[in-house]
């Protein structure tokens, strides 16, 4: 089948999509946007978090056909042309990036959190990010990065 969607502001089309493919697969393998990650592909880890019509979703749980005609924003669409988004910069500066596999999903989740709650408390931060697994950092520097981004 054919799927049309607007991704990071650009209208894109994927052809020959098998009906069983996820939005994640289409983004990664057909549209050249591998930023959203394939850690569990069952909605447990949050590493594939993207915006679908401004709502963060696990792209692995969205069938590609469900994205037809809709708007998707991925981690690749957060930075400006010349500068990182403050959330991205905070992750970098706070040491919240190790292997980096969880990072794209976390960056989108934190972006969403700060849109909704610009000055979250630590329990707010932890509650909001409970769906994003990280295996490297122990979350210590991720919490620090969110606080840094909120202060910037």
């Amino acid at each position: 089948m054919r799927v049309n969607m607007t991704v990071n502001g650009e209208p894109l089309r994927a052809d020959d999509v098998w009906e069983g493919e996820s939005l994640l697969y289409v983004l990664r393998e057909r549209l050249g946007l591998p930023g959203a990650k394939n850690a569990c592909e069952q909605g447990e880890c949050g590493s594939c978090t993207v915006y679908l019509d401004d709502v963060p979703v696990c792209a692995c749980l969205v069938a590609a056909g469900q994205a037809e005609g809709r708007t998707v924003r991925t981690v690749e669409g957060l930075a400006e042309e010349t500068a990182l988004h403050p959330v991205q910069r905070a992750f970098l500066e706070a040491g919240a990036v190790q292997c980096g596999f969880c990072t794209p999903g976390l960056v989108v989740a934190v972006h969403d959190l700060l849109e909704r709650n610009p000055h979250p408390s630590e329990p707010d931060i932890r509650e909001a990010l409970a769906g994003n697994l990280c295996r490297c950092t122990g979350y210590e520097n991720i919490v620090a990065a969110v606080k840094l981004a909120a202060a910037s």
């Binding site: 098998w18 069983g20 493919e21 990664r28 393998e29 946007l33 591998p34 930023g35 959203a36 990650k37 394939n38 850690a39 569990c40 592909e41 069952q42 447990e44 880890c45 590493s47 991925t74 981690v75 690749e76 957060l78 930075a79 990182l84 991205q88 910069r89 992750f91 970098l92 500066e93 040491g95 990036v97 190790q98 292997c99 980096g100 596999f101 969880c102 990072t103 794209p104 960056v107 630590e122 329990p123 931060i125 932890r126 509650e127 990010l129 409970a130 769906g131 994003n132 697994l133 990280c134 295996r135 490297c136 950092t137 122990g138 979350y139 210590e140 520097n141 991720i142 919490v143």
Partner: protein
């Protein structure tokens, strides 16, 4: 290639925390992990695995798979062109099953097709007729000569005896205990994956996430029947490792499919397959007897440790040596009798995971120390401090502890941290969280301690070296350095550290760390907390060789390189750009740490280890004793890192390692029933979330090991080792329960 251009030399040499050179790509989603790769005309590989832990293969019928539209290759053991077995220490593992399977999940056949789903469906159409046999699933039973043999040579992989002092020593105070550690998974987030591209010379280029490119190279080339120079490996982005990428997974399979089809082949495991695709932490049974005098000073330790290695050897021989040689902890004990066994069973293969044998032993010996303290009415920190090893003491192997060994100091540091206050009324800070299971009723607080010891680097006489190539040249009118090694950046920040070392040694701001590949010599594995030590040492040595040539060119021996210039006591002697007008300077150096010795096979005596590292933890927990729910409130930890080359990354390692120890304490276990994994998903295998991991208070000591580069001490593993027993001790303190098994589950606390 990753390039950094720091603002000043002083802000980005060793001891500072410059930004990771790969960090920008990682936060923007542009960093190419091994599962992100793509090539023109690329096919997808899939693996058919055994559903049985032990069975004979009577017949394999490939017809259905071969007939599937879109399938380009279906291969079995007969198609393995070279050696049909691989293995890190002992080549006992078939590339594809030959006549029998020894664990549930063993690869039997592989498929290449034009879509991953097509490949999976075709694999499912392969018909394998099995004669199912009763599996050997108990590590202790495996040692019984009457038990079936998993391999013809028998089920004992290795026995490590330790005999120190008087084996018949007695003591007035004796505590005994039997402990059990469940099978933990590395659960790195980036699944096993890679891209193999056939080359015109009949060889293959493999882009792969691994911990040890040359470790893979030797095995892959042998199995492909190709000379090593025709197999070229490059490191693709690695989504975490923690030991789980030390063994080969899909490397040979992807290359076989690529060479067979003449097309690039990508393989990416699903999360479920990942649980079958790599080795795990050995489940262990440990029986200990500690004898002490009335003051709590240890007189003897006797112990028996059995590690279930599963179906294939992997690194079990080294893991059991660690568990045994480090098996009494960082304590002074004159009389030690220990026996460690690694055995074959038909359970999933086990091998390297962060802590590598030291984790299992630490849970047992620290549990014993708490029992001894309780018996004597002593404070647990005081009891440990009384027995803490100091420089000059001997380990159970007879090896003398050299350099700083601040065991008592680390314990006191975590003990003296202010305790966290009582939990407030925010549901999110109570056990059970927003599940609203308690408003504080039935919640008990406990505090517990743990300290551990880990060896750094490969032991027992292994030739443990790294190779670094450093090139100093002029780029755009400025001096610039390229550092090239085969060392795997797995997330720990090695790329940053390599550049920091080059800046410090050569006084040049612009440093590029080239992509790790096999066109340069081996760096050894990114494991055993060794890579900053050994590859860091190699980079420093290669920089020194480059610097020697600079000084030779300017005819001086008394100068240093700073800020792009050659500087001596009287001032600037030369500009590096001018020195390099005669051509770039490139040096390649193989660097080794000091040699180690094998263990005596009868007594376990020998200077087997390179360096010891220590970390201590204090855990504070709240336990809902009615429901068995645990919330870790805070962890305080202290670790001597010798010298922190990148302090921010050091703290990141400590926090991350501590969290993995938390996972083992209260949630993480691969549940194996009759040889079959029952929870191969992140739905059923739980790793700590941000709600499970508490704030950490981290003390970093930099006491300097005089025998190590810059005085550094390996960092990665120690934090994983002692957080587990500290948390369990805290749960014991809250509940009064003995808790002899990890992970601790709710039913262990409620007795239901």
């Amino acid at each position: 290639m990753t390039t950094t251009t720091p603002a000043t030399v002083t802000s980005s040499g060793i001891g500072t925390s410059p930004l990771r050179p790969d960090g920008t790509l990682k936060v923007t989603g542009e960093f190419a992990f091994s599962s992100d790769l793509w090539a023109d005309r690329m096919l997808w590989g899939a693996t058919l695995r055994s559903p049985h832990p032990r069975a004979r293969i009577l017949r394999i019928d490939l017809t259905g798979a071969v007939a599937t539209t879109g399938v380009h290759a279906v291969l079995t053991a007969e198609d393995v062109p070279g050696h049909k077995r691989y293995g890190l220490e002992h080549r006992d593992q078939p590339v594809l099953a030959m006549g029998q399977v020894r664990y549930a999940g063993e690869p039997v056949a592989i498929v290449a097709a034009d879509h991953p789903e097509t490949a999976r469906r075709a694999a499912a159409r392969i018909v394998v007729e099995y004669e199912v046999l009763p599996p050997v699933v108990d590590g202790e039973a495996a040692l019984d000569p009457a038990t079936d043999k998993v391999h013809d040579a028998g089920n004992l992989l290795r026995h490590v005896p330790i005999r120190k002092g008087d084996p018949a020593a007695t003591a007035p105070v004796v505590v005994t205990g039997e402990y059990e550690v469940g099978m933990q998974d590395q659960a790195f987030l980036g699944p096993e994956s890679g891209l193999a591209i056939p080359a015109e010379d009949g060889g293959v280029d493999l882009f792969i996430a691994t911990q040890w490119l040359h470790g893979d190279l030797g095995q892959v080339a042998d199995c492909l029947g190709l000379p090593p120079e025709k197999v070229r490996l490059s490191l693709a982005g690695v989504g975490g490792a923690f030991g789980g990428r030390e063994d080969v997974s899909m490397q040979v399979h992807a290359c076989m499919l690529a060479l067979h089809t003449g097309r690039p082949v990508k393989m990416v495991y699903s999360r479920e397959e990942s649980f079958f695709g790599h080795v795990h932490r050995h489940p262990a049974r440990l029986a200990y007897e500690h004898g002490a005098d009335e003051d709590g000073r240890l007189v003897y330790v006797r112990a028996r440790i059995v590690l279930d290695g599963g179906a294939y050897a992997s690194t079990s021989m080294a893991v059991v040596a660690n568990a045994t040689t480090l098996g009494i902890g960082p304590y002074r004990v004159p009389n030690v009798t220990m026996d460690g066994y690694a055995v074959y069973t038909n359970n999933p293969p086990c091998g390297a995971m962060r802590g590598f044998g030291a984790v299992q032993a630490c849970f047992a010996y620290e549990s014993q120390m708490d029992r001894l303290a309780e018996r004597l009415g002593l404070d647990p920190v005081e009891l440990r401090a009384r027995n803490a090893i100091e420089p000059g003491d001997t380990m159970p192997t007879g090896q003398v502890v050299e350099g700083p060994a601040p065991v008592a100091e680390l314990l006191r540091l975590v003990r003296d941290r202010p305790l966290p206050g009582a939990t407030g009324d925010d549901l999110r800070e109570l056990p059970g969280g927003v599940a609203n299971t308690t408003h504080g009723e039935g919640v008990r607080r406990g505090v517990g301690y743990g300290i551990g010891i880990k060896n750094v680097g490969f032991s027992e006489g292994f030739d443990d070296y790294s190779t670094a190539r450093v090139r100093l040249e002029v780029v755009g009118g400025e001096p610039a350095v390229v550092v090239h090694t085969a060392a795997a950046e797995v997330g720990q920040g090695l790329v940053t550290v390599q550049a920091q070392i080059a800046r410090t040694e050569l006084g040049v701001e612009q440093v590029t760390v080239a992509t790790a590949d096999t066109s340069v010599g081996s760096a050894g594995s990114s494991s055993a907390s060794r890579q900053t030590y050994v590859t860091g040492g190699a980079v420093r040595a290669a920089c020194a060789a480059v610097r020697d040539e600079v000084l030779r060119r300017v005819g001086r021996t008394d100068a240093t390189l700073e800020g792009g210039r050659v500087v001596a006591a009287e001032g600037v002697v030369a500009d590096l750009v001018d020195v390099l007008a005669a051509g770039p300077i490139e040096r390649t150096v193989e660097w080794r740490h000091r040699p180690t010795s094998p263990l005596d096979p009868a007594t376990g005596q020998g200077d087997a280890h390179v360096q010891y590292a220590f970390a201590a933890h204090r855990a504070v927990v709240d336990v809902d004793v009615d429901l068995g729910l645990v919330r870790v409130v805070e962890i305080a930890t202290a670790q001597d890192v010798g010298r922190a080359l990148h302090p921010q990354s050091v703290r990141g390692q400590i926090a991350g390692g501590t969290a993995q120890g938390l996972g083992l304490a209260v949630m993480e276990e691969i549940q194996v029933v009759d040889g079959k994994i029952r929870n191969p998903s992140f739905t059923d295998y739980l790793i700590p979330t941000i709600l499970d991991v508490p704030p950490m208070r981290i003390d970093v000591l930099e006491l300097g090991d005089p025998s190590a580069p810059y005085g550094l001490r390996g960092v990665g593993e120690p934090p994983t080792i002692s957080s587990t027993p500290a948390i369990v001790a805290a749960i014991r303190a809250a509940t009064g329960l003995p808790l002899k098994r990890v992970p601790v589950r709710p039913e262990h606390l409620t007795g239901t």
